[in-house]
Symmetry: C4
Subunit: 220 residues, 4 copies
Amino acid sequence: MLEIWKQLVCDANKALKDLQLVKWTSGNVSYRDYESNKVVIKPSGVHFDVLKPEDMVIVDLDGNVVEGRLKPSVDTASHLYVYRHRDDIHSIVHTHSPFATSFAIRGMDIPSYTTTAANLFNDRVPCSDFAAIGEEDIGKQIIDHISDSSAVLLRNHGVFTVGKDIEHALKAAVILEETAEYAHYATLHEPDLQPLSKEVIRQCSYFYKTAYGQKEENKL
Amino acid sequence: MLEIWKQLVCDANKALKDLQLVKWTSGNVSYRDYESNKVVIKPSGVHFDVLKPEDMVIVDLDGNVVEGRLKPSVDTASHLYVYRHRDDIHSIVHTHSPFATSFAIRGMDIPSYTTTAANLFNDRVPCSDFAAIGEEDIGKQIIDHISDSSAVLLRNHGVFTVGKDIEHALKAAVILEETAEYAHYATLHEPDLQPLSKEVIRQCSYFYKTAYGQKEENKL
Amino acid sequence: MLEIWKQLVCDANKALKDLQLVKWTSGNVSYRDYESNKVVIKPSGVHFDVLKPEDMVIVDLDGNVVEGRLKPSVDTASHLYVYRHRDDIHSIVHTHSPFATSFAIRGMDIPSYTTTAANLFNDRVPCSDFAAIGEEDIGKQIIDHISDSSAVLLRNHGVFTVGKDIEHALKAAVILEETAEYAHYATLHEPDLQPLSKEVIRQCSYFYKTAYGQKEENKL
Amino acid sequence: MLEIWKQLVCDANKALKDLQLVKWTSGNVSYRDYESNKVVIKPSGVHFDVLKPEDMVIVDLDGNVVEGRLKPSVDTASHLYVYRHRDDIHSIVHTHSPFATSFAIRGMDIPSYTTTAANLFNDRVPCSDFAAIGEEDIGKQIIDHISDSSAVLLRNHGVFTVGKDIEHALKAAVILEETAEYAHYATLHEPDLQPLSKEVIRQCSYFYKTAYGQKEENKL
């Protein structure tokens, strides 16, 4: 079942490595199918290089394994918590990308300093409180803090990004690390650097939603 | 029409990714043909990996699409504004390369600290004021600030570089990021670091124009 | 003899380069066979790219070369010292990975700021005193400082990580550099940043040992 | 003539790019043949990717082109100045590697903080005064400042490393950038960081010369 999604979730997990967002076996991508509401997720502690579509685990929203011989990611309960509380989210990406994680260690939000950040994260990437790993505490922190952003810094741990599909959640993970990188550089020189104004952020967000990219039927 | 330029502009856009100057779909290269004055530019929001020459969009200097089934880059009006106001510019590159963008966030020029920077940017890479995306406001900022440099930092957004051909605009994008990288490192230690003197900058600029590289007929 | 281990130690040494933890010929991996107690180690000063399984050197715990036509790593006596003093350690990795080495230059421990670091290093990666190269002084520093961590910063030199097998020692080397990277970024902004509490570290460590990864028979 | 050296110098120039020490066309490697005293050097302003052995230029120590249809590097006169003043130097590498160049911009020596640095650079990598490009002013700065190090930071420009052969000069360029990288990180936290003592530096230097690597006949 869900063969196409096992392939795409497997590809997305491998993409995390190619995009240099993860090291060793840390990090994962999941996808919630629009029709069945079943969730496809990476197995726990497996190297990205050897991952195959048939290794993906399918669970229902209550966490029952529906298909797959391997144990799902230790973050599964938290992914499911997010899916149960936000109908609009159909993909979640988790990484420890280093610039973003350095803000998570400090418990600092990343305000939007660029038009690109404003487009994806509105006025900021919020930082959550600390949550224990396993169970759904991380999921609760994501829901409590994400608001209208598409990313959350998980205190003393790493980052989670979300989207209406895998493409959007992956893009948020890539742009989050880029955003954290130049925010780190710039605020080293100017700790009190002013972010974009709310008015500019609103305009950017509107512009990207209406004018950027190709019409659906022309997407490559 | 302009088949060779669609190939070269496509290659140059892909080169941005290989040169690690862009992430996801952000960034673009355009070229203005010396004969027809038509401009070849990347389509909006398309991944660099899948870009093909036939995806390139050809527009005239007034922004009318002359050829191509895809929507051109959202920065097209700004590229055209620059081409209309500077006869010597035939290629424009746009990226969000992280070290340079960190200066753009701070609204800081990058003074020339090295002979290589002096060669390409004269005494500095200027930083513009903020401009909204879409339409030609970004182009106006470039024209207002670039002077005799070959790069502009666009406030709270990213960078634009220019050249008499694709090779020169791409080179400026590469050397700009390298310049921003070591300027960032050095000024973290010494915020008031002295740039090169105007006399040295003039000499460097003259030297590179007269002595560097191969004669036209020996270019590889 | 030990043909399979010569292959695996050779692969692990080459992996150091692919993982961007070493440059030129610096760095090495060794493995102590559970049955024979013989140690397989990289030869001295050989480039990772040209390394072949038959170039590996096999020594006993007293340092006698048992097999191999090349000189073993100059760090061999120190690897052996560690193996003789810790029955649980069966693989050692040595690198000069730059973020971790920057802490070693300062003589600074790296406290655990993230759940991932707590899992591998408990409350910190300790920094040793200075030791001369050659002979077993480096080994003594490792044993004196490592305690229940899986990594030591060797003062003014580089890093050593250990594990019950090659996989664990390599993982520690990868996660150590990642940990040092975000610790560097975060403490530049906040030199007095608080690490995780001992209670959280204890919980993380327990969680990873009991819940992370696949059952032995399902490992890929 | 010198066919083997044209191949090796070409390979070494390409290696600069693979080792991420150069961008675009900046940087070069030369070699002085032990028998003929002729110097093989990269042509000026040519991309590393397209460089072929037959593009290399051969000059005598007075700068007369002996073979080659292309213009030699603009740094040729400076390479020759160094070769004429130091019999022991048979290869020179020039790059703008970013961490090292950030020290060159500041006019700061890099003291030896690690055993590896001490081995190659003795107590420090010295920084020269500013020299104009072209002619032999850069060569004079190198000779005036290099002493018993194997690298010089050229003020507001980049770096030069030297060796008895290509292998040693290339290694010095690689280790110089690594050294500059962790020196940059560490001194951001502790500007007055103490380097290694002269006694330790002397011991390291002696150790590496007598104990590191394989015997000549066993080199791979």
